[in-house]
Symmetry: C2
Subunit: 345 residues, 2 copies
């Protein structure tokens, strides 16, 4: 006889991770990793790090990293929370604000993790369909939802929602918490951090996995009011960010120039790939992320044919997304290999 888990856990499907081939050989355009290495400053910080230090617990408050991060934003250290990847930050925000009977509102399509976290917490989800080109629909009164979560740029289309668009929503429902997931914002033409100073019902999430080339390190953070940040600290594991992650995260913040250069290159290659795929007859959404969504009617077949040619892209088998695939902006060489594979079909 085995002990029964909670009803919530019984209702969850077994965990199936995304495709992460640990061997080489594939051109990996499926998980929105940055194709370029971390900054030389980060690699130097790694070389300088003292493994002898690993016997000690890390700083549970990530003070040095939070101090560096807040210099990028206008605010105080107590407005920054650092997590073990932005996945942890998002989970803690849901847990802090969504109790039994509360509902979280989100759009479709979006980052597939959001409904997963809601299900793990047993929280109701209300989904609003985006317009045909990823534009926001006319929402009903959002004040009936405790939390509204949106990514900007929003995967897998990559639609960027300007500050004014988000502000209109935030103003309309002052007792709803708006989580703006800016994991991809370094590849976009703007951001929404200015809203934090003006509204107490907004929190911004950022990730080190994309623009900072540090997906393997697991770092993300939230920027919001002191109230919101304190609630995350109440719920986090005691030492949630390890010593090396904090050390490398600090070095990455100091390497803005290098990363700004990478972002420019990725934006250029995104424009290149968008143009070329449209030439080949694909519908390509205007993306401001480090990925594009390309449709030709049958994403499943497209995914399979590319995989046979050792190119991995991301296929989502959902009603709205199975008409295409999401393609990460790799190096120019990788994108040319992809285009060649598509032309040779």
């Amino acid at each position: 006889m085995s002990v029964k888990p909670t009803k919530i856990v019984q209702s969850l499907k077994p965990y199936v991770p995304g495709e992460q081939p640990q061997d080489g050989g594939f051109i990996k355009l499926n998980t929105n990793e940055n194709p370029y290495p971390p900054a030389p400053e980060v690699i130097e910080a790694f070389r300088q790090a003292m493994p002898e230090r690993l016997r000690l617990y890390p700083d549970p408050l990530c003070v040095e990293l939070r101090t560096l991060l807040v210099e990028r934003h206008k605010g105080s250290v107590s407005q920054i929370f650092v997590g073990n990847g932005s996945d942890e930050v998002l989970r803690l925000l849901f847990q802090a604000y969504l109790g039994a009977g509360d509902a979280v509102a989100m759009v479709n399509p979006t980052y597939s993790l959001y409904p997963v976290i809601a299900a793990q917490l047993g929280v109701r989800t209300k989904i609003f369909e985006l317009g045909p080109d990823g534009e926001m629909p006319d929402f009903p009164a959002l004040s009936s939802f405790k939390v509204f979560i949106i990514a900007s740029p929003n995967p897998p289309y990559g639609t960027f929602y300007p500050e004014e668009t988000l502000e209109r929503l935030i103003k309309s429902a002052p007792s709803t918490l708006f989580i703006i997931d800016e994991a991809y914002v370094d590849f976009a033409s703007g951001d929404a951090t200015a809203l934090v100073a003006r509204y107490s019902n907004v929190v911004i999430c950022r990730s080190y996995s994309k623009a900072f080339s540090l997906a393997g390190v697991r770092l993300g953070y939230a920027f919001g009011t002191e109230d919101i940040i304190e609630n995350l600290f109440k719920l986090k594991d005691s030492y949630n960010v390890d010593y090396l992650s904090q050390t490398l995260g600090c070095a990455a913040v100091r390497a803005q120039a290098y990363y700004a250069g990478l972002a420019v290159r990725i934006r250029e290659d995104r424009a290149f790939l968008t143009t070329e795929l449209r030439r080949l007859g694909f519908k390509v959404y205007d993306s401001q992320g480090n990925f594009i969504f390309a449709e030709n009617g049958d994403g499943g077949a497209l995914y399979e044919s590319l995989k046979k040619k050792m190119i991995l892209v991301r296929y989502f088998d959902t009603p709205r997304l199975r008409t295409g695939v999401r393609i990460t902006i790799g190096t120019r060489k990788e994108l040319e290999a992809l285009l060649k594979a598509l032309r040779d079909k």
Copy 2:
């Protein structure tokens, strides 16, 4: 106006981390860290690790590390779950098995995190007082509790509970999940892993923070039935253990001989410190951890006087523990400095 968090979060106290001076100068005997560096194999693995690899996501399933770990225990890879520190493992176990209305039973004193996790999840806690020397009390029927958690060795006294003692409890309540937290077991005279093969209502937790000298890396794991482990996978963050932690964790498992040597040294120094403190008139509990609990009636004054001499020990301001302090087994030199400070008082 700020958005209200859940009732559970409203009831939680703001987060206050343990004392972790990031500067040097103190003799740090307060957080049960290992005074010796990680194994040469771990330091070598660190030197060999490729920071360029950090741009990619880590293995979400930690397959290599789980494969190595399972060689230490008798079982299959699907019986091992690796977490971002054993704190994460414990939290996920609570979340998986404790729903609204359920209660978790534990002893007092024990690891102070257990009631904290219960409070974060809004779960009821039932506390049973240990006997005067840390021995188990006569429990009532435990089957009314969904989960029973016990550490063995159990901090801060360090009492070790033999397999037979635990087995008696486990047999008495087959629909109660027994979490045996073996964070300190490498310093003890036995362990309880054999129970996993015999009972489906037991799960063992282990930590890399103590015996493996890797508190800064954040690694812990659970060993239990496939059912239990699958439920943890359902709830974890997608990429909960970063690349370097997995890499260093693998190296540590391969360095058993080095770590066995450290454990012997720590046990010897624990015996030395216990004897010397008893000579000085302290009550010292028989400990099988890398720490001892020493009582002289006023732990607060003891803590303060040692801190003035740049020695940090752990003081718990609770009815049962304020009569003494917990002292981590540091190096022999550190322990001699401690004894000198106590004699010079």
